[in-house]
Symmetry: D2
Subunit: 316 residues, 4 copies
């Protein structure tokens, strides 16, 4: 009923209210946010359904490898930093998280490219999709970047932005109207609609819906592969609409495994890789030698990036 | 140019015309079909870009495991059948195929769920999508199945089918018109269009396009995982639009590794799994005992399926 | 100290005694057995370190796919059976288990071939291995099977079995003696021994140890991939020494997800696959037609297996 | 016969002498080395069995993503460098290589931890292992490193090294003698030995063999995952005995995909990752500010490593 529909829309359908005693590693901060949907974009959300392990689980797994225990909290942190620094990834695989995510289909298509994860997605062959689609805010309506083939640049005027937004909304509304027309139901109640029959098969009617349509899934992943996802998708080059999901997850990870989260920022996210040639440039600079881009072995693009990351004025 | 566009549409952009000598396993039938696009649906295709190994490569890999050679062609076939029958899957992983596929996005979304494969997809963040979308033929315009929640049933009347088809086409055409409007280009030449600028970023403009829009990718997979894909997607329960791709691939596999293909049909595709209870029913029947569904431990659905597969009249 | 050594040997080093409240799915039977080592072989064990999800988690994941809820326990069981029967594997991937396993290296080498899992193994580059190795019981000392190239057959006489066992034990003891000699320590206390130094590097000294040496690891896997492992390794054709581990895990799974466990036995473990030709034979038999092996399209081996599985006398 | 045995030992059993015409991408340098065993360690080898793709295959896959062609060889190299630099890994997955490797079991156990690959290993359940085991050269007989828990340090005296080597050899010889005793065969011809029977089952007799025993396998992997393997195993911290295999493969890769190989060295192997704190140190140094380890946020170990990589004298 309206109840079920509301449930699915808000991601609350499976909330467990009861608590039990467990001898498993338990994180108080995660218990507090469990099942709670964090809104993302205009209709999306992220909700933690379950988690396995905590910072000490990483240490515990590393200990079986190294055959000895560490005794103090400070040693735990040092070990986790060591593991992250030296790309010893398997101990991080010993933590697992399960998320319920509602997201536009074009975001889902980028997300699914991360293969080492478990997914159960809403099936539009089985069920009718809710009339929900992503419409960007004015702030996101921007021109194609000329320097970055896959990025955004300038804001539109308020008038032009409104025009764009209205066009996107109208197209999506028309598509959903036709979707229901094809299904021969105007019933927005899923269960009711499914009984109507005589319309076009659901698996075919959906093909007229836009890529902005919302879908949802359960997504389960280990911490190592989650960090790989976050490094790419919380990056400034990621498309805005997936980046906001990555940032929401990063906040959750910070509460789940605070020590690993900090090590991730230090050794993966906020540092930089120097290529062999770039390393050579830095060495020469530190040695007081003058070096210019043409001598450096770097392309002009690489040189510019290096100067940026070293916070130096580009002199190319 | 018009040339480039036509190329991509027809999947011929990368054709190599020259041949070289190689000491690698080579399959004459595959050489004959290499690079040639096999049409699927209204605008899609499948094209073999490369392949590694043949039937003897499976035997060769099994031989390293079993530490001895087989001598005759007939022994090769027997060994391959043995491996397939006993789920010894690793020798089949020693063959690899790379396909160039053009397919509607809603098909791509089902396809990508097969995780153990390599994919490079056309990026609509980088480039403008061609004005190509899937429109079902009249034969495919069918009502929602009542017995199978994810299937199709009855044909529409010719008039109703035309109505559906026109609606789908008009929606897609409008979407593409608006897509170009947002990009501020009516230029259907990709390279030209990309220079226009000042329009909405490509990564955002695309969200108004329907799920019927064609995309394309390179897809590389080993034979074992390809068989898993085919078992599910060439099955009669798969959605028609992905099944025709699976059937086209099955034809290619038949030419590539004919012995493994035959074993696959025999031991995976055209046989059936009997559950413990179903096996018990069959044993009793063969023993001449009468048995009815309620006594069988099978649900009425399972009983019906079992009678179907045994080509018996259901008496439940 | 001796304490630490004992810990590792018995797999109790990481026991958490405290319990916390959690809103996550919790299985009372699993809480009862958590951390408790189940002995396997002469020195091995399996110990549940953590788990995620229960039977309802499978249902919950399927529900997001099918977009509707099921209401009753009996419906849950029917849905899980349906998923298992139709190879809808993704909902089973939503449950995860983490085991601490102590096992001989030759067993570990078979086990690790299951790639879709997370592993942290004890490193003999970092630490000194305990003087523990697998010696088969008399019951396991059997001749090479002639019919099955990878199996065992007849028992040895008590005298011969004792001879074999003594030989294996003496070789392993000598190897460990030499291992310590190379490391220049007779110190059986790991931490003490590691301080001795001046001996051969650990990573090299270990190469003289036999394949019967015990190692240990943390192994984390989802339920779908665990079922794949169990289907192969709890099978009667699996080597005895890995089969006993699989059977111990099967007992744990029975307590963890009893409904899925039962469906697994019914639809994976205790049923049988009929090839296309075998299915044809069964159909003819049920139709009252006489059919012999030469007419059947089955090899004599396949025919014999089919007669066995149908509990019929082989008449080939 | 002796023939077969020699074949397997030298890795030449499956050599194809004939060549065929192919329209697939072909690399002349690879054709020249195909099937040829490159010796590694005392009895091991690496042999290229098959390969798929070349440098242009990487470009071709990237082109489908970016929807445009590049025209010149120099542009190909620039694109490949760009892909490597920005961690766009999927185009590298479009190349595949299949190797036949003979290697000691303790090396195989490290190697197999790279999960995204296909493997068929010689089975000692099916067949009898050859009397071949790894004995280190004097140069490799070194003491345990005190600074690096998993490394080697000082050479032994010639006398002590000889003692170690003799001990390792004698243990392995005794183990193989007992192995044959248990199998009740002294027949070193595999096929003959297998007919002897009445001895202990092969799957059990092998457990007395040392970790230095040679095994062999077919290993198939895509270029992206091969680079991951090489980055870890060709690294100076890898155990010597696996590093020599990695170096042999690196030589092969250099001939197979020379442009990608060069980009790999530049952007993965010979560069360095600067953590957020290390980057900050470098920025300050370049800005002429004095900075010491305690102020840097780096541990003393990290500081030392940073000074080393920057080729500066450590002043901590």
């Amino acid at each position: 009923m309206g109840y079920e529909k509301k449930d699915r829309k808000n991601g609350e359908q499976d909330v467990r209210l009861s608590t039990e005693k467990t001898a498993r590693p338990t994180v108080a901060a995660m218990e507090a946010l469990l099942q709670q949907p964090f809104p993302v974009l205009d209709h999306g959300f992220i909700r933690v359904v379950d988690y396995m392990g905590d910072d000490t689980s990483i240490v515990q797994a590393a200990r079986v490898s190294y055959g000895r225990g560490t005794k103090k909290k400070s040693e735990d942190a040092a070990l986790i930093r060591y593991l992250m620094r030296h790309n010893h990834s398997t101990p991080f695989e010993m933590c697992e998280i399960k998320l319920h995510v509602k997201l536009p289909i074009f975001v889902a298509r980028q997300w699914i490219r991360h293969r080492t994860a478990n997914v159960n997605e809403y099936s539009a062959r089985y069920s009718i999709l809710d009339r929900e689609f992503y419409i960007p805010s004015e702030e996101q309506v921007r021109t194609q970047s000329k320097s970055n083939r896959q990025g955004r640049a300038e804001l539109f005027s308020a008038q032009d932005a409104t025009y764009v937004i209205n066009l996107l909304r109208k197209d999506a509304e028309t598509a959903f109207e036709h979707y229901h027309l094809l299904l021969k139901t105007e019933n927005t109640d899923n269960e009711q609609a499914e009984r109507d029959g005589s319309g076009l098969s659901r698996e075919l009617a959906r093909i007229t819906l836009p890529l902005s349509t919302y879908t949802q899934w359960y997504w389960k992943v280990d911490l190592h592969n989650l960090f790989n996802f976050l490094r790419l998708r919380a990056d400034s080059h990621a498309q805005y609409e997936i980046r906001v999901y990555a940032e929401a997850i990063l906040n959750i990870v910070c509460q789940w495994v605070p020590i690993a989260h900090k090590a991730f920022l230090e050794y993966r996210m906020n540092g930089t890789y120097l290529s062999a040639s770039a390393l050579n440039v830095v060495r020469k600079m530190l040695d007081g030698q003058a070096i210019t881009q043409p001598e450096s072995g770097l392309s002009s693009g690489e040189w510019r990036e290096l100067m940026d990351v070293l916070a130096l004025q580009s002199k190319s």
